[in-house]
């Protein structure tokens, strides 16, 4: 459903992605992993249109979305959950949900907000509280709920485990798995903690220094030493 071909991205004059290729099947979960500063987040931000200086071809459901801005990508069926449990801290929980569905017609929005509150009872209890007062795990749930207001066909999630306790991280990845099962949403996750994301992903892409160095089905990456070998290897390889 998503194909990325020869993606280059730049911050000013500095090139941070070098010809990244990536494909994602319908209703699958793909993980982009790699060392710190490899450009993993930039992959997501470029696909969603937050990084505007990008080259290459991105197609979604056969449609060319290479040059779309975030608002048009939303209309095409994408949604993005940024890093660090980003929510509007000064707004209440229900206001945040309303803003997550900003682009929806009012009637649809109200209905989806109610189902979001049902799906996340923690948020329902705190619907009138400021989002800034929530715990890290609750804020991450709210960030998911906001993106799901749009009922995206593809959800892009940037480092959902950052700053969360290990137990919560497990819970967050269970939630991602449940989102795919229940809503049929495809998911592209960027993650530093490879162990956790490999538990739920179908496909793996390894990025290092802005280049795709390895990709393949998740089974091939589950061994103890595989990742270390992949991270340290010098050539592009497909692990079979």
């Amino acid at each position: 459903m998503l194909t990325v071909e020869k993606l280059n991205a730049f911050y000013g004059k500095k090139q941070v992605l070098f010809g990244v290729d990536l494909t994602l099947r319908d209703r699958s979960i793909a993980a982009v992993i790699g060392p710190n500063g490899a450009g993993k987040s930039t992959v997501l931000r470029s696909i969603f249109g937050l990084v505007r200086e990008r080259q290459g071809r991105i197609t979604f459901d056969g449609r060319d979305v290479s040059h779309l801005s975030p608002v048009h990508n939303i209309a095409a069926g994408l949604a993005f959950v940024p890093q660090g449990a980003r929510v509007f801290r000064e707004l209440t929980v229900q206001e945040n949900l309303r803003m997550g569905g900003y682009t929806l017609p009012s009637a649809v929005l109200a209905q989806r907000r109610e189902s979001a509150l049902q799906a996340f009872p923690v948020l329902s209890e705190r619907r009138t509280q400021k989002a800034g007062a929530l715990s890290g795990g609750e804020r991450q749930m709210l960030a998911f709920a906001m993106a799901l207001m749009l009922r995206p066909r593809l959800l892009l999630i940037d480092e959902p485990s950052i700053g969360l306790a290990p137990k919560l991280v497990t819970q967050i990845f269970d939630t991602i798995s449940a989102i795919r099962e229940e809503l049929g949403t495809s998911v592209l996750i960027v993650e530093q903690q490879a162990q956790q994301v490999l538990r739920v992903a179908d496909t793996v892409f390894v990025i290092r220094a802005g280049e795709l160095i390895s990709h393949g089905p998740v089974e091939n990456y589950r061994g103890e030493d595989v990742l270390r070998q992949v991270y340290l290897s010098n050539r592009t390889s497909q692990v079979n």
Binding site: P70, R89, E90, L91, E95, M99, G100, M146
Partner: protein
């Protein structure tokens, strides 16, 4: 007692004036996080534009107000387009935007003096104002209009920011501009709308206040911007209700103080309060304490 109640009432009138300026400023600040000092310049120019249509051309009160609102709205959105948006796109520090805004305030103040002269200009609805008596208090029509307009406007803006999707979106955008883009908000358009509405309101306020004082002069925006800024710091930044309340508190304290202390100390008192607030309660009397990060 009756003297005190008159001073308090005068304070409420003065406070309404500060609150009116602070409300538009707070709306713009909420949306763009710019310290829009040029707001004072928009206030001055729109007052003179309204005066020209109303008095010089003799087209009447309604045309005067419409002109002031229109000129102010166009100036506000123009300043945003030419000055703040390019700065935002270039990731310039908000501090630089604030200093530039102050520069625009000075330019507009001086342009007004060049175009309309530096002498105070009489602005009167014709004849002297009727004086009303409410119990122990003496007041005039324009004074009552200002108070009512301020209270109604503050309530409308409060409702807008709490319950209307556009208003909540403007708050959201001020809280996190990138996340606003992620959820698909048209950020630029929202900021333009805020500048149009916030400035249009200050245009209307400029004539209301001008008619109350009876004169307008080229320096009026400079002085009032200073007091509106103090009012907002007293009330709390980025919150329309707090900005209005800060205006009322400042107006009443200033006017009650000169009951007991010589009026030449009025400015010193205002800035004394400002310093105390910054020392002991920097988030303002009614402001929300932001997250620590």
């Amino acid at each position: 007692m009756s003297v005190l109640s008159q001073f308090v009432f005068n304070g409420i009138v003065a406070g309404s004036v500060y609150a009116l300026i602070a409300l538009g400023f707070a709306l713009i600040f909420t949306a763009s996080r710019v310290f829009h000092f040029a707001h004072g310049g928009v206030y001055t120019v729109s007052a003179f534009a309204g005066y020209t249509v109303m008095v010089t051309l003799g087209l009447g009160l309604a045309a005067g107000f419409a002109t002031a609102a229109l000129v102010a709205a166009l100036m506000g959105v123009g300043i945003n387009m030419v000055l703040y948006e390019p700065m935002k796109a270039g990731n310039v520090s908000p501090f630089v935007a604030m200093i530039s805004s102050f520069g625009v305030l000075i330019i507009l103040t001086n342009l007004t003096a060049i175009v309309w002269g530096s002498n105070p200009t009489v602005l009167s609805p014709g004849g002297s104002a009727t004086i009303y008596r409410l119990g122990p208090i003496y007041t005039t029509g324009p004074q009552l209009q200002i108070i009512v307009f301020t209270v109604v406007l503050a309530l409308l803006l409060w409702v807008f920011f709490r319950f209307v999707r556009l208003g909540i979106a403007i708050r959201a955008m001020g809280s996190d501009a990138e996340l606003a883009e992620v959820v698909g908000m048209p950020s630029r358009r929202l900021r333009h709308i805020s500048f149009i509405v916030g400035s249009g309101l200050v245009g209307i306020s400029s004539l209301l206040i001008g008619l109350n004082v009876g004169i307008i002069d080229f320096n009026m925006g400079f002085d009032i911007m200073l007091m509106a800024t103090v009012a907002m710091i007293i009330g709390g930044l980025g919150n329309v209700g707090a900005a209005a309340a800060g205006g009322f508190v400042l107006g009443v304290v200033q006017n009650v103080a000169i009951w007991k202390i010589e009026s030449k100390w009025q400015l010193a008192i205002s800035f004394g309060i400002l310093i105390l607030m910054l020392l002991f309660r920097p988030s303002g009397l009614f402001g929300e304490r932001g997250p620590a990060a």
